[in-house]
Subunit: 148 residues, 2 copies
């Protein structure tokens, strides 16, 4: 996301994160990887995306350190896209997007998928922004400092 | 984010959230609103964005229920973009993106802005995905069910 006139944006971690994973489809690819998909064809079938666009997104995600491109786990000639530790750390981002959508973008009774804790077979706890002391923190309780 | 061949995507809350706020710049506008910006010119100066693109993004965010367009709080002729409750509920999404960026996209010593709890003047606690029982939950501890 290159801005013509705001170089200070690069000092904002939100901006830099969106530069890395904010392209259309990127976070859906990561979502699918959390669901266990690893191969180009699997992502392609899941997303119904043109191959050239999917290839470009995957390449960018490898370059951004989100995926490693690895030999297939079954010894076949396929390559697999495996989330790095950095990619796995996007889990709260994807869960936050899911929970916001569940809460605000579906009519009562409208069907949507669920992400369940496999042990308890229950939805996850809502993500909450808290202080280091454990207090719930609202946007107006925060201050953004310039780059340090 | 319209997919040509995957209508079942609409049953995924992550997809639907990205349809609402996943356009380039949308979440940066929301970030700026969390920092207190309300007017078109304020967003424009912050983002350095072409006016027609900013206008289109703000219009889409109003239509998506993220902002209300309100008379100016100072009685002037300006309009102000005020986050709705639904828009404010994006706070965990923006904080999750920020924390991921802080953790993974800066070199040691590289400058970036900080979001501090105004009371304690400390960074916020890291967002963690937990079960309803409070257990830390990793992606592989979860199962995604079809739409219900």
């Amino acid at each position: 996301m290159t801005s013509p006139s705001a170089p200070q944006q690069a000092q904002c971690p939100v901006y830099r994160s969106l530069e890395a994973v904010g392209e259309r489809w990127s976070l859906l690819i990561v979502r699918d990887a959390f669901d266990g998909l690893r191969r180009f064809g699997e992502f392609q079938r899941s997303l119904g995306l043109a191959k050239n666009i999917l290839a470009a997104r995957l390449k960018a995600l490898v370059e951004a350190g989100v995926f490693d491109l690895c030999p297939a786990s079954d010894g076949s000639a396929y390559k697999e896209y495996v989330l790095t530790a950095q990619g796995r750390a996007l889990f709260p981002v994807v869960v936050a997007l899911r929970q916001w959508g569940e809460q605000h973008l579906y009519q009562a009774g409208e069907a949507h998928s669920l992400l369940l804790d496999a042990d308890a077979r229950q939805p996850l706890a809502p993500l909450q922004v808290r202080s280091q002391q454990g207090r719930l923190v609202a946007p107006e309780d925060c201050v953004r400092t310039p780059a340090v």
